[in-house]
Symmetry: C2
Subunit: 540 residues, 2 copies
């Protein structure tokens, strides 16, 4: 036995459970008068944000919500949503944030599966909530959020409204850290493309560490100003509600993602950071001139999902934004990979720079292991930028598992690594680049075809606004690539022209055999819904 | 049982032990060619820093050093010291950093107490090391560090030198994270003023979290440049060896703290951050003009110990430095409290601003609890800026305990809080301000007198360079304050003048009865050694 194993044990003085609640507590004590939240004309200081979160925790306790219960919220990017990120974990319950644009059946499924005890509903979504509650087996207490800054006309469904509810709570509520930092903090359902949604459960430890990771990676200085273009229901807004208070930054709420509101907030509230899918960049750049505002100081835009195309990056730079490209999943608390920029690359020519920017990158600070492996053998693929494998993660910002779904959990963690379901190559310099979702890979004549590679080629065609490529069943080849293309307003192109373009730029076997011109189906966050194209492809 | 307690367990995919080693691993992979260490003309990239640390870990393993063994180092702020901060924990041993200016007997005591297995010695300190090895009971393997950039003439004591030693190590050594993040990482002896030094043991978890805390609190951006004016043997250089790689910053080594070398490094290596005791500021400001250099960009100077006097702060600002005042102990990994600056205070008049700056402040990010309590009753003192209590800490950056010293450990953690031994008041805004060390408080006629308050008054006298006040035994009063004063070069003052000055500015019972003009005894890091003045005070 080593001398270091003797009488050097944990005790309350030298060991505390990690939780992001400490971040808010500190901001409230050190910067009580700093504005924590801006919502329309309403401003909330850190002292008040902390007090209101404690009121929420206290009010939940008073009506009998217990540690380990689920608190469901169907809220926009508004103050109650920010308060729920602290008030709920303060009393040991789990915050279940719901996509505000899902259908009633899915919403009912989530409420039932999560065994929801209480349900906060923004009036804007009253109709869908009402319908879901009729279908659901559970019967949660319903609390309305009636936003006085942006009045909504939806029906009031609940027994009381949010302000009345928390008024009963004690602003001095004596919260305590979780008994164990491994305790659950949040539940987010993934919009699975097949079968029922899976409930991703995350913990206090990961949320606290993600708080630090975002601040350091995003270069978020003291009193930064963060604009809520990213939905907070989306992987808890990538944990930014747990990051901003670390530096006593200001949250700027945003009920709707519209160009004029974003430009106004950036200029008037001196926004320094915002996040969003590429669609948000498109909204900003394609806004009519009278909605645009001149941005005086550089603004950091963190984007995920598809790598930003060259024209968008150039446009964003001209408009005053620095774009950082990240990648992650709900299962990784948001960003788990970052396109860490090397200043040497500034000297490269534009297309090489864009190629560097298009890569997903390297592990985020809070993640310990990032590899690309053969999912069958679990062998690491060579760093040759060619061999495709599955992206796998190990680390403290990987979920606890899927709620009440041991099989899916075990499958996701097979071999001691979290299987992302995304296929990628590893570059010689250790940066990964996504080639496809597992289910999006096209296998033609035994050859793997990355649908993303084909799409990238399509995007480079002058007439193409957006493109999605899926496999079309084929007796001889198994599958062949089928392209769905959305043309730029006013642009024209024929199927033949597009196929010829691909043949000039791709190996022949990778070229689409069919090209369909349509408006592509997209999710509320702007992601193209490829799965909706598989049926039509089959029937061509 | 909650649904969240079922089948959502830890596994390697979602739980990894925290350790600062990840910080270096990431920097080496993402920024392999970035300069990690500058030492004279020698530059080490991150790829090489990581490889050499792994070589050190491997070489230690090869000669039989095991997990839980002590590796002692008597090194200046040089590359081997930075490598030891990773190479030693990579193979599970504990890094014991030794103050390079202690006497042979204390050094021998430390080697024995730590049961040291191997001992790295810089040639500069060969003489004292040799003497200590003659006294010590242990017989560690000795490795010399022969610094070719700054050649030293000391005797070579060991079996081999550092470069030869690590050459045997494998640069691909497969390190693994600690089995438990609670495992020990470092051992640092406090320079106790009474009795034997106590060995402070810290752990991987705290070192990793302190890494993040320093980066965020110090506003250390990507590729910052950190100058080593603070000795790395001092609480592991406040954990900055574990912070700098997080942002792929550059360490600039410094063998000796001299004004010309500091100014040259700042200008030529574009230093952005440095730390040090107030003495370092004095060295910088009092340097002859031909050693000073014009600093073009703002440099962050983080200082601990005594709050910086007004004149020094003004001088530092003029010279191009922003000064941040922190407070902590070896037992708290370095800074645990920071004078978090509120920009509203910029508008205050100079003396009020200095009064704000003089306060120790609020909890550092990595610390969870900071209170001022009555050590007898453990009650929190009122936040009235008057009532004196003991500063107490709770959190993840508090030590595991004192090595082989269960009594001292239990005493330090009595009541579930770490007792700092420092006496302070709590201001109404939650900032603490030190009034004294427990043992430095003077009790006169039953009244507590803060020796620091008396010293502050003395410092404001135009002729006073430095001052220390201790209790002098007194039959009637128990104790009376006795001042030891160092005058500015060329300045004069009489005992009477000084006492009159105090009477004009302090309650009478707090005024010194005796004033002695001497050159004050100081530690190697510039701290005044008050304990050396108690004997002389008694004999007056």
């Amino acid at each position: 036995m080593s001398i270091y194993d003797q009488h050097l044990d944990k005790n309350p003085a030298n060991y505390q459970q990690l939780t992001p609640i400490w971040h808010l507590e500190r901001a409230a004590k050190v910067f009580p008068d700093t504005v924590a939240i801006i919502h329309g004309k309403q401003q909330t200081t850190y002292e008040s944000y902390y007090a209101r979160s404690r009121q929420l925790a206290s009010a939940l306790t008073k009506i009998g919500i217990c540690k380990g219960d689920t608190v469901s919220v169907l809220l926009a990017n508004t103050p109650p949503m920010l308060e729920a990120h602290y008030g709920v974990p303060m009393m040991g319950a789990i915050l279940h944030s719901i996509n505000t644009r899902i259908d009633a059946a899915t919403l009912a499924f989530q409420l039932d599966h999560a065994e929801s005890k209480i349900f906060f509903v923004d009036r804007e979504y009253a109709e869908i909530a009402k319908e879901a509650l009729l279908i659901a087996k559970v019967n949660p207490m319903v609390i309305d959020y009636d936003d006085l800054e942006f009045p909504q006309t939806g029906e009031l469904l609940g027994e009381t409204d949010y302000e009345t509810f928390i008024k009963d709570g004690d602003p001095e509520f004596a919260w305590s850290p979780p008994e164990n930092e491994w305790d659950s903090i949040s539940l987010n359902y993934t919009s699975g493309t097949t079968g029922n949604p899976k409930g991703v459960v995350n913990h206090h430890r990961g949320a606290a560490l993600m708080g630090y990771s975002n601040v350091i990676s995003g270069d978020m200085g003291k009193h930064h100003v963060y604009l809520w273009t990213l939905p907070m229901f989306h992987a808890n807004g990538w944990c930014f509600p747990w990051s901003v208070p670390i530096q006593a930054g200001t949250h700027v709420c945003l009920r709707w993602v519209r160009a004029d509101a974003i430009y106004d907030a950036i200029v008037e509230n001196k926004v320094t950071h915002l996040c969003g899918a590429p669609i948000v960049m498109a909204i900003l750049l394609n806004a009519p001139d009278d909605e645009k505002r001149k941005i005086e100081r550089n603004v950091n835009f963190i984007t995920a999902a598809a790598p930003p195309p060259e024209a968008v990056l150039a446009g964003m730079a001209d408009a005053g934004f620095t774009v950082t490209h990240v990648y992650g999943l709900t299962e990784t608390y948001g960003p788990a990979v970052v396109n860490e920029w090397n200043s040497d690359w500034d000297k490269l020519d534009a297309s090489t720079r864009v190629a560097k920017k298009a890569r997903q990158g390297v592990r985020y600070l809070g993640l310990e292991g990032l590899t690309v492996r053969d999912p069958e053998t679990m062998e690491i693929v060579p760093s040759d930028a060619k061999t495709i494998g599955e992206i796998m993660f190990q680390g403290n910002i990987v979920m606890k598992g899927y709620l009440k779904n041991p099989n899916a959990t075990d499958e996701a963690f097979a071999g001691g690594w979290f299987h992302s379901g995304d296929l990628a190559v590893m570059h010689p310099d250790g940066y990964i680049q996504i080639r496809d979702r597992s289910k999006d890979i096209i296998i033609s004549g035994g050859e793997n075809i990355s649908s993303i590679e084909v799409e990238d080629t399509l995007y480079k065609h002058a007439a193409v606004q957006a493109a999605a490529v899926v496999g079309k069943p084929d007796e001889k080849w198994g599958e062949t690539p089928c392209a769905f293309v959305e043309l730029k307003p006013g642009a024209t192109a024929t199927e033949e022209e597009i196929i010829t373009w691909c043949r000039d730029n791709l190996a022949h076997y990778k070229c689409p055999r069919n090209v369909v011109f349509i408006e592509l189906p997209k999710t509320s966050t702007g992601k193209i819904q490829k799965f909706k194209l598989r049926g039509p492809a089959k029937e061509l």
